[in-house]
Symmetry: C2
Subunit: 84 residues, 2 copies
Amino acid sequence: MKFKASVNVMLKPSVLDPQGATLERALKSMGHRNVSSIRVGKLIELTMDCENQEAAAKLADDWADKLLANPNMENYSLTLEKLP
Amino acid sequence: MKFKASVNVMLKPSVLDPQGATLERALKSMGHRNVSSIRVGKLIELTMDCENQEAAAKLADDWADKLLANPNMENYSLTLEKLP
């Protein structure tokens, strides 16, 4: 069975995010005072071939933890979708 | 009213994604032959203060189109969530 996994990787709230701060300054300099708390993360999409949804979730979580995110600085969340 | 907007920015399918290709090679070299089509995008989260949901959606779409994504190379999708 084929699954599509989406891994959202965001910097932990305690870690400075200069890219987000730059975007916030840019929007404010364009006159938008109503914006705050911009954070920029990564979204990793991949297709995987696994026996069942449980195995796919376990494997994707393992990949996210070991390769896709840096658990010291980043949090991640995972969504899995069965492909037809 | 406060809203949290999440903007997913992905490279268009026709645009090469070296970061995704590198991750795919890394996973394959770790023995995972069941992975394919890795793409790496950006996830931008922000808080905005708007009169109503419609105005917030319009404004966030405008920001995504003009500043957060590059419409020549990237597609984006937007989700909006009302904050308590």
